[in-house]
Amino acid sequence: MNALDHDAGLMLRYRDGDTAAFSVLYAQYKGPLYRYLLRHVRNAAAAADLFQEVWSHLIATRARYEPRAKFATFLFHIAHNCAIDFFRRDLKLRRALPLEPDPAQFEPEVPEHQRPDRVAEYAQQQSALLAAVAALPQEQREAFLLREESGLSVEEIARITDVPVETAKSRLRYAVHKLQHSLRPMLEPEGLALRNYA
């Protein structure tokens, strides 16, 4: 089993009764999965529910697990389906979300100690990026978050989201273009610094 399949191997061990293997998997994926859900559904309570739902599904169906893809693809495919169900179930919530996202509303349940102790300007930049991600259309936002949080390829993102590779690539291209465009001043600190010196 190669390095790419290491996590699938852990899942196989859990399937066969090794709960310690599950703990390793959980520790490795809980952060990326939680952030993907949190920033995708943009609601901390819903993200917590979905997070639990994803793991519950994985635990309940472990007996049928066969490593046909990378474990991350398997896990985020479950997460994608749960998120889709959430969006379908709760259209009212989607409509209630503000068109112009308010940075103060993001991640309201993030403990204060997890926020980096940095200068005020930098904190403002962080909020701007999260706001720009949150303002992306749902499919583009998901493609970007899957890439950033799971590190999966475009082909794997296409597989997770059940769309052709070209569609996934197009979504990601639009997302990257919009984010780079809206955050240009923030993403070019060196240029900004040089201009300040001039």
């Binding site: 599950f22 997890q114 890439r147 950033e148 990601l172 291209r173 993403l187």
Partner: protein, 153 residues
Amino acid sequence: MPDERARRKLDDYLRGDSALSRQYRRENAPMPPHALDRIVLDSARQARTGSADPQRLAPLAFAASVLLSVAMIAAMLFVPQAKRPDDRAHIVRVRMFKSEAPRAALASPRERDPTLWLADINALRRAGRGAEAELQMRRFRSAYPDYIVPSNE
């Protein structure tokens, strides 16, 4: 060309370590609340110790179904056939239907038996006494309204 530029941007981004990715990674990285950790890890442990694994139960289920089949076949082959009172009851019910008690009081013992009465009616017809036969037939139908009279009578 804007399309070509967008494609190049995407390729740069996908190569990793783009300014955008670096900026994203600099963001705070919220983690699930500890309560969620506990719930998930407890569920994973309980799933192992709690309900039985369906895959492991499969051979047991197969053995149980084989045993049940063998027992059913043995019962069919070796246990003597029991009487079936229901069949008898069914026949009785049919007979009762065909020879329901006549509604009107009947004059002769032959009229109390519908088959004998019909035979007499036929005999009257054969003797050319049609009017009498018809009269008797009307009486017969009145006495045995549910009796199915054969078409040749």
